[in-house]
Amino acid sequence: MNPTMIPIPSAWILYLSAVLFVIGAIGVLLRRNGISIFLALELMLNSANLAFASFAFRFAGASATAAHALNGQIFIFFIIAVAAAEAAVGLALFIAMYRRKETIDVDRFNILRW
């Protein structure tokens, strides 16, 4: 690490991930446009990624816990892969919906009681 750079404290990254997670969760629950909901979902998953990364970074910093770092980093890859699959399935569902209703506004999905 370049000694002239001051590293960002890992706690800050954690706080950021928590903020992103909350924004994402609120977005999923409050936004009505399908694409916005989608973005919010991705935000939630990536906030978890960020948390994993920051924890892994912290573990890597100390020699006693260095072995733990790999666990979190691997999980990130799994989340990315799963998120891609989720996007494929989710977008397909929204497209099927759009073909029938010509809208992806979830408020208009009202045959079933929400």
């Binding site: 954690l14 991930s17 997670f21 994402g24 969760a25 999923v28 629950l29 399908g34 909901i37 979902l41 939630m44 998953l45 906030s47 978890a48 948390a51 994993f52 920051s54 924890f55 912290r58 573990f59 816990t65 733990h68 666990n71 979190g72 691997i74 999980f75 799994f78 989340i79 799963v82 699959a85 989720e86 399935v89 989710g90 397909a92 569902l93 929204f94 099927a96 919906m97 029938r100 209703k101 979830v106 999905f109 009202n110 045959i111 079933l112 009681r113 929400w114």
Partner: protein, 485 residues
């Protein structure tokens, strides 16, 4: 890691290959061959089951494979066989249904197999990574299955709602896992348990992580307040899919729930128990009360399945070995009785979504006494009246809670199961005590396979109601796998 470690994993590998093969076969067959493909899928499930018996069974005691990713233990075998049985029954029930529909059977059967694969991994996961991947494999297959009738608006809508809330819960689960990782530095269930046993300080990151994971699991088993997707997904989905998602995935989710909370997080029992207590009580109360006013049978059964998740949660609240095996037994019993009830709904659905109203059942006992008697048994069992299996399931769960000292929770649960009688018996009243429209009697689907599957469910429901001991013995052998006395 040597190649021999893959041998116990052969059943899963085989099932994945079989799933793809059936997918390909389905593409070439188009809309034909529903029954053939069902049989083929059932055959691959059977081969998988045999493989589990031959290589996937803990002959030399429980151990982990693939670098600590998967357990090979009796608990896993129990839930694998249970979910595979559920999938097999659904495959046979749905063959005729798909034949009557405009949709091709290939993808349907393949998706069921993939979901089953996910459930098998959930049942045996020894690491949060494998559990998460298994869960997502199951969930993604389910979203597509719910939206399988892609030209039906109801099916689309159910799928979208299910997907949005399901993905939300996955996000919560993953974030909870990240906090756990941050607190403990490991994702291995055994290591988590060891770390939790060793430390006795209250760690808020850890507790928040456990609670978030708990929320994610409560969502998957459809417990209050994370149940909102259930009625819509159940009503919107094609009925065989409803039958499927109400049993197999629920059993698999409970398997994972038990692995996590009575296995890995058991040392922190005192911390999370109150959350589960509240969730169990709220689920039992809300599920039963909300079911009272439903006129759509699928929706009513959706709320009833919420209530049943609540009963099973009581065993988790108990947190003892008995609580553990009682939930295992409950899931098995619930699988058969609920599949039977949904099989009956399929029987009435001669066209589209017809036969879903409670009123459609009027006077059924006169015209189809055998079918009505079957449904009566499932309703009795769901309501928990002896001598049916549902009663035995509740007995074990409630006994475990009484033994752990949670009497008031049991009081709530039994009062609510008395309430549940009212809505289950609305169907019985329609079938037996009311006269139907004689001019235009609702026809029944005549499908030997469906009849046979319902018959199987009736048999199991009655047999376990009279003599549950063998299943209990099986479940008890799975207790040691989780390290509970």
């Amino acid at each position: 890691m040597s190649l021999s470690q893959f041998i116990p994993f052969l059943p899963e590998i085989f099932l994945a290959v079989a799933g793809f093969a059936i997918l390909l076969a389905g593409i070439s067959l188009g809309k034909r061959g529903a029954r053939g493909l069902s049989l083929l899928s059932l055959g691959s499930l059977a081969v998988t089951a045999i493989l589990i018996w031959v290589v996937g069974r803990p002959v030399e005691g429980a151990h982990t494979i693939l670098g600590g990713m998967l357990f090979v233990d009796t608990f896993a075998v129990y839930f694998k066989l249970l979910t595979m049985t559920a999938s097999g029954i659904v495959l046979l029930m749905s063959a005729g249904y798909l034949e009557r529909s405009d949709y091709s059977p290939g993808e349907f059967d393949a998706l069921i197999l993939f979901a089953t694969l996910g459930m098998m991994i959930m049942a045996s996961g020894a690491n949060l990574v494998s559990l998460y991947v298994g869960l997502e494999l199951m969930a993604l297959s389910q979203y597509v299955l719910v939206g399988y009738f892609k030209l039906e608006l109801k099916s689309n809508e159910g799928a979208v709602k299910y997907f949005v809330l399901g993905a939300l819960s996955s996000g919560v689960l993953v974030y909870g896992i990240s906090l756990l990782y941050g607190a403990l530095g490991t994702l291995d269930l055994g290591a988590i348990r060891a770390a939790l046993t060793a430390s006795d300080t209250v760690n808020w990151t850890l507790n928040l992580g456990i609670i978030l994971v708990g929320f994610g699991m409560l969502f998957k088993v459809a417990a209050v307040p994370f149940h909102v997707w259930t009625p819509d997904a159940y009503e919107g989905a094609p009925t065989p899919v409803t039958a499927f998602i109400s049993v197999g995935p629920k059993a698999a989710a409970f398997a994972m729930f038990l692995r996590l909370f009575l296995g890995a997080f058991h040392p922190e029992l005192a911390q999370w128990r109150i959350v589960m207590w509240i969730a169990a009580a709220a689920t039992v109360i809300y599920g039963n009360i909300a079911a009272l006013t439903q006129d759509n049978v699928k929706r009513m059964l959706a709320y009833s399945s919420i209530a049943h998740a609540g009963y099973a949660l009581i065993g988790i609240v108990a947190g003892t070995a008995m609580g553990l095996w009682s939930v295992m037994v409950y899931m098995l019993i619930y699988t058969f009785m609920n599949l039977g009830a949904f099989g009956f709904v399929i029987m009435l659905e001669t066209r589209g979504y017809a036969g879903e109203r409670v009123g459609d059942y009027a006077g059924l006992a006169k015209r189809h006494p055998g079918a009505a008697a079957g449904m009566l048994i499932f309703m009795l069992s769901l309501a928990g009246i002896p001598p049916t299996a549902g009663f035995m399931g509740k007995l074990y769960v409630f006994s475990s809670a009484v033994q752990a000292g949670y009497i008031w929770l049991v009081v709530i649960a039994v009062v609510m199961s008395a309430v549940s009688l009212y809505y289950y018996f609305r169907i019985v009243v329609e079938m037996y005590l009311k006269d139907g429209d004689e001019d235009e009697p609702a026809p029944l689907v005549r499908d030997r396979w469906l009849d046979a599957m319902i018959g199987l469910c009736v048999f199991v429901t009655l047999f376990l109601g009279v003599y549950p001991a063998p299943v209990v013995g099986l479940a008890q052998s799975g207790v040691h796998a989780l390290g509970l006395g």
